[in-house]
Symmetry: C2
Subunit: 463 residues, 2 copies
């Protein structure tokens, strides 16, 4: 470890209380992107970040979008041209309701004692202001001690992540040249546990489809027509009931094409995590793993695709009975995808799966509402290697490479529009109550996260 | 034919215009049982019938129920004690909306010319005031010419048929002794066509079930849990998708137990009807018969049971996509039953069918909302034979024995509570617009229906 890094880490240690207070000030701003009444608060929260960045040597601006603005900031770094890092985060937060379940007001940050020491409780504490604050503090320490980060840094903060980032793609596309970088660094994920840092190297993608089945030209009396007229609800269950075979294998044509098996190294690492699936399922009242037979729990959650019906409807759904043969029936189907699967081919496969099973007299429409590929950051990429080294130094144990069963849309946007891989290093914990009342962030995570980011900056720059 | 019957038929012919006017007066009363604002009209319509019956020698009363009253009337007959006939009908009508689709006001009966001559257009024209009027006119003619019907007659008119007869069972049970008879005569069904009378000898019954499937203790994020947690909508489609095999055979255990094959005589009679299934399906935009493979169209509609999903729902059903794994999923299933099937066994079979296919971690509730057996009146019963003879005399061709795919709940109630078989002889036509705007009844059906009832009274009494 260089003397310089030592000094930077010491600066972070010495400034921990001030860092906490800066975060608390940011958290006081109710930057709820979903609620128009909070538009001015969103702008205030953006400006808070702009000021913070300007104060530590960044050329920082608020930049308009069709919705809430972005903050873009640049620093040339102190050590030459490469690598160029793009830090992404978001300053907007989820709505706070139901307010009655909060033990302290969501926008009056409270320091409370927990099993891991003090924590800050507020809406946005971990998602994502607290996690952004970690790297803002790391950049501040580098500024104070070394006059700036060791490599060029661009910061991009958006204000619409919690409402699905409707303006982000256009913003990225319009500012492609300015946002050019070598890798994106994002802290919006979690640790494995309080003592074990994690890098998220896999995200599942998605194909979301709506299936509409039509039969007779009107609803029919089931007495007069039952036994002669096609029932589209029966037909729909018959079709969709074949989505999985008895072993949980998904029957959509070509569905598994392109999926690489999980490497032995990866499989061994996941096995070593000792994930307790019984406890995971027990929390939601279940006992028996669903999904493909013969696959490990984390493989099923992180590295295998799914086909889940998210909704189904048709016919009479009120109290009591109505003897109707409906004219139509509907379902929503989402497939979580893993790297290697081509979303367009999966979409075509869903359509073919339905058409192959369509009975005479039924007409089907399959509408694709969304396609996103699964994403994997190779474990041997220099960014992952550098981050692992930095995290190991901070935590005294190796960072684990984990997957996420969900998607982080910005990762796909950054790849598609800017050609950037993302390094996902987050410091949240499972019990942080993301999107729920009493959201919190451990101050030890804030502190060690800032130190980790300071170390990663050094490692990326080869210091 | 006896001279007496000749005179009675001549009396009906001579009084046709008066009979039409009497019906028109009854149709002017908007006795809509579903609408509380029309409660007084229901009472007026009941009283109209009571007066009519009193005028032709019946001891007639309005009798209260928990809802709209019944009319009960008795005549000892002129020819001894047997057989004792119970005429059932209803004086209430469906609501008339949508009013804008009526070509004449629904409660201002209009005489319009059609391909079969004049018809009366009004709500209730055929269902059921016009069909009740036929036998009231037959009884009137017997009264005028012969001093009363040739055998004891009880009349029961209810005022809640169009709202599901909620008070009828209690009324039958409470008046069992008074309503004792040998057979019930009901005119609330149809002819095969304008020239061909029909006796409905088969009605399908029903088991109506709601199936509720439960999995996790709450809705889940499909990214975080997809591949580990049971999806109850997938499970429900998997279960219900197996309701029928590839040949349309219903897979509920024991489902077909007790069903007798249709007799060759019956099958030949149905075949001779020349039912045009292509036209039947074409009217509703379909081409391909559903149901059991290898069975005739009328057999499937009248003599084979069904398993139709009448409704299904679960998860997200709004616009766009939501990536939720729902905690529960639901369906409504009705099985139309045929004679021989035991509704309780079918209900148990439905429960077993679901439980046999229930995946681990799923919990199912199967609620039976309704059970009614299928009903068959033997073609060789004396009542059917007598009616066939009378109808053949009137129409110059044999009456056909038809089935109905639906249920007529009163038939089951009369059987269960009074032990009575029902003779279903109706004079409606397929295009009568029952329950729809511009409901009509052909005056030729009113007239020949009255003559047919007069003839049947003679035949029942052995005259």
């Amino acid at each position: 470890m260089s003397t310089c890094l030592d000094s930077i880490l010491a600066e972070i240690d010495a400034g921990a209380a001030a860092a906490r207070d800066r975060l608390i000030n940011w958290l006081r701003i109710p930057s709820i992107s979903a609620q128009p009444a909070h538009a001015a608060d969103c702008l205030r929260a953006a400006d808070w970040a702009r000021e913070h960045l300007a104060a530590i040597g960044f050329r920082a601006e608020i930049r308009p979008t069709a919705g809430h603005p972005c903050v873009v900031a640049h620093h040339p770094g102190t050590g030459g041209k490469a690598p160029h890092l793009l830090f992404y985060g978001h300053y907007d937060v989820q709505p706070a309701d139901p307010l009655s379940l909060w033990r302290s007001p969501p926008f009056e940050p409270a320091i409370m004692e927990g099993p891991h020491g003090p924590r800050v409780v507020a809406r946005g504490a971990v998602d994502d202001k607290g996690q952004v604050a970690m790297w803002l503090e790391a950049l501040r320490a580098w500024h104070v001690v070394a006059g700036g980060p060791p490599c060029p840094v661009t910061v991009l903060l958006e204000g619409e992540e919690e409402v699905g980032s409707p303006s982000l793609d256009a913003f990225l596309a319009a500012n492609r040249a300015e946002l050019k970088a070598d890798v994106a660094v994002i802290s919006d994920t979690g640790m494995w546990d309080i003592a074990t840092p994690a890098i998220t190297t896999r995200l599942r993608g998605m194909v979301y489809a709506q299936i509409d089945l039509f039969a007779a030209s009107r609803d029919l009396h089931s007495g007069l027509y039952g036994g002669a007229a096609l029932n589209p609800i029966n037909a729909l269950t018959r079709i969709l009931g074949e989505l999985q075979d008895a072993d949980g294998r998904i029957q959509i044509p070509g569905f598994y094409e392109g999926i690489q098996p999980v490497s032995n190294v990866q499989a061994a690492e996941w096995a070593a995590l000792g994930f307790d699936e019984a406890a995971f399922l027990g929390e939601i009242g279940l006992k028996t793993p669903a999904g493909e037979r013969g696959r490990g729990a984390l493989e099923r959650l992180w590295a295998r695709p799914t086909a889940d019906l998210n909704g189904i409807w048709g016919g009479y759904t009120g109290e009591g009975g109505k003897t109707v043969i409906a004219a139509e029936a509907h379902a929503k189907l989402s497939c979580r995808l893993v790297p290697g699967q081509d979303p367009q081919k999966v979409a075509a496969g869903i359509r073919q799966f339905v058409m192959d099973r369509l009975p005479p007299d039924a007409r089907a429409e399959v509408s694709i509402l969304n396609t996103t590929p699964g994403i994997e950051v190779p474990a041997d990429s220099p960014w992952v290697q550098a981050a692992r080294g930095a995290l190991a130094a901070e935590y005294g144990r190796p960072a684990v490479l984990v997957g996420s069963g969900g998607s982080i849309p910005v990762v796909e946007s950054l790849k598609r529009l800017l050609g950037l891989d993302s390094l996902l290093v987050g410091f949240g914990l499972n019990d942080d109550q993301v999107h729920s009342p009493n959201e919190k962030f451990e101050l030890t995570c804030l502190h060690k996260g800032a130190r980790s980011h300071a170390r990663m900056l050094a490692a990326f720059a080869g210091r």
